[in-house]
Amino acid sequence: MREITLSKAVNEALAEEMRRDETVFIIGEDVAEAGTPFKVLSGLVEEFGTQRVIDTPIAEPGFMGLAVGAAMTGARPVVDLMFGDFLFLIMDQLCNQAAKIHYMSGGKLNVPLVVRTNLGATRRSAAQHSQSLHALVAHIPGLKVALPSSAYEAKGLLKTAIRDNNPVVIFEDKLMYNDKAPVPEEEYLIPFGEAAVLRDGTDITLIGTSSMVQVCQKAAEILAAEGISAEVIDPRTIVPLDEAALLKSARKTSRVIVVDEGHQSFGITGEIAGRINEKAFYHLDAPVLRMGAMDVPVPFSPALEDITVPTPEAVAANARKLMSGEMIDAA
């Protein structure tokens, strides 16, 4: 199968959906000629024109609001939010408006829009350009949240997001834009709420999201060399969450580590650990461990930044502790 970058996969998904449905349009900063700072959208304005690939002023709450209104009245906007950190600027339009309109209208109004944004640290971009804020939107009922972990997922999930009749926030990992993965030529969709088991194992389950899927896979390799068989699962969407797949694996292996790049406290890892605890408790041989980004703003200095994010070595070390029955310091 051909291999393409995550960036190209996103670009293809948008182009295919825009060809299929003329109500789909892109709106955001420097999306047209510049094709975004990450060059993800290069070529789209040439095919679809400036009417459907719309450059905006630096006015995030404004263009997010426009997207909500357009979505409610028959269009399918794909909002390009240059950095996930800018979610804080659009929160009212996204969380008070888009997320609640279908419910508040008793099911009469729909808001079929997508916010494409990103997450991930270790790019030396400091505290306001490095956050992984997906937990924040996952907390709000009415928003679906997708976390692609490779080019393949990025394309399939984005196409599904665009066809979904609800507001969807999709987070790409900035560090992965140039990573290649096999992506079929022929069309495919990835349904929401279906986890992918990326590696079968029997001793321990590593649940990883987005940027942390590769970390879990590398950790599984380290562990395999030591005779520990780790299963690796990627939920792919956290709202909806494929709880059944996660529980099935937890029951099978009896030990689980959840790894996510959002801050560890009050985050995705705690949510998933909580559900496993509630529903698979009697199958567990060890407490479910959470591994998130350190609970500090992301520091600029490489000497500090690198220690704020879970690494394969750290995941493997925790897995060993769970295997040996060593008590884990919850801090």
């Binding site: 900063e29 420097d30 000629e33 510049a34 700072p37 450059d55 905006t56 002023p57 630096i58 006015a59 709450p61 404004g62 950190d85 800018f86 600027l89 790019r123 030396r124 971009s125 400091a126 505290a127 306001q128 350009h129 350190m294 609970d295 500090v296 703003p297 520091p299 600029f300 200095s301 490489p302 000497a303 500090l304 220690i307 704020t308 801090a331």
Partner: protein, 331 residues
């Protein structure tokens, strides 16, 4: 220091400060190109007369808020090369102990409340500093630097309204360098920028941002008036950035021609212009100016060497400074 610049010493200081900014940026760019600097940075080169003309009208007690393109403001407000380069390289002796980096340099000792990686993010901060001055009967003035692109942020209009209602001692300094990232200003700004301030009854001015004397003259008058409670004011400074949007923006002919860049550099350079004025007026000889340039260059080279050799923060600093009253938040 806050009087109009009519003496030799002040002229030479302004010249020197402009050269210091240009030299700082040349070195920062070199650090990026030689892969010695983590991350990216936004160069202030070409805009020196704006920061220097304004900051020379301020005392250490007056505050500024800065932007992602903030090295110029930082130098002009009195910062030292050594601590600035250390910050750019993420070293412990940097102004922010390596935690902030280029986009977050703050220099409390000279009243620089900080650069900001959120476009428009400092408009509330600047206006709040002015509110405090008024409430407490202090006579300091705050200058809020921001770009033409930032005028698209709604926050500006919320805070200008309050500043005008309450006559706050704040000066909004819009550095119009013709571009907002990869887009020309006239494609993202409707109407006249100064008219927006005027709509709130704020006196607004336009000035040639390549003419340090014109900038300083206007700034001196407005600062004096703001101190007396006659503020707020709005100034649009017409200027130009010589480099790309950031150091990595090398191939930019698709949005800005080489001829245009050449024209600004050759015919409107703020340093060349002021230098010939100084010589014409007999304030300094060519030789004296060359000697000053050489001295600044040597200072910068020494500071760069120092910063490269300086140490990174210790790992245990990572969870310090999250809160004022908890030394290590994760201990």
């Amino acid at each position: 220091m806050a009087d109009s610049k009519t003496n030799t010493e002040a002229y030479l200081r302004m010249y020197r400060q402009m050269v210091r900014i240009r030299t700082f940026e040349d070195n920062a760019n070199q650090l990026y190109l030689s892969a010695k600097m983590p991350g990216l940075t936004h160069m202030y080169s070409g805009e020196e007369a704006v920061a220097v003309g304004i900051c020379e009208a301020l005392t250490d007690n007056d505050r500024i808020t800065s932007t992602h393109r903030g090295h110029g403001h930082c130098v002009a407000k009195g910062a030292e090369f050594q601590q600035m380069f250390c910050e750019l390289l993420g070293k412990e002796e940097g102004y922010c102990r390596g935690k902030g980096g280029s986009m977050h340099i703050a220099d409390q000792s000279h009243g620089n409340l900080g650069a900001n990686a959120i476009v428009g993010g400092s408009m509330g901060i600047a206006t709040g500093a002015a509110l405090r001055a008024k409430m407490q009967g202090a006579d300091d003035v705050t200058v809020c630097f921001f770009g033409d692109g930032a005028t698209a942020q709604g926050l500006l209009y919320e805070v200008m309204n309050m500043a005008a209602l309450w006559k706050l001692p704040v000066i909004y300094a819009c550095e119009n360098n013709g571009y907002s990232e990869y887009t020309k200003t006239d494609e993202i700004a409707a109407g006249k920028i100064t008219a927006r301030a005027e709509a709130f009854g704020i006196e607004a001015f336009e000035v040639d941002g390549q003419d340090v004397l014109a900038v300083n003259d206007l700034a001196t008058k407005l600062v004096a008036r703001a101190r007396k409670g006659e503020g707020p004011f709005f100034v649009e400074l017409k200027t130009y950035r010589y480099h790309g949007h950031h150091v990595g923006d090398i191939n930019r002919e698709y949005y800005r021609s080489k001829e245009e860049e050449q024209d600004w550099k050759a015919n409107r350079d703020p340093i060349i212009r002021f230098r010939s004025w100084l010589v014409e007026q007999g304030v300094a000889s060519e030789d004296e100016i060359e000697a000053m340039n050489a001295e600044v260059k040597a200072d910068a080279a020494a500071a760069v060497d120092y910063a490269i050799a300086a140490k990174y923060p210790e790992a245990h600093e990572v969870d310090m400074h999250v809160f004022t009253d908890i030394e290590h938040v994760l201990a």
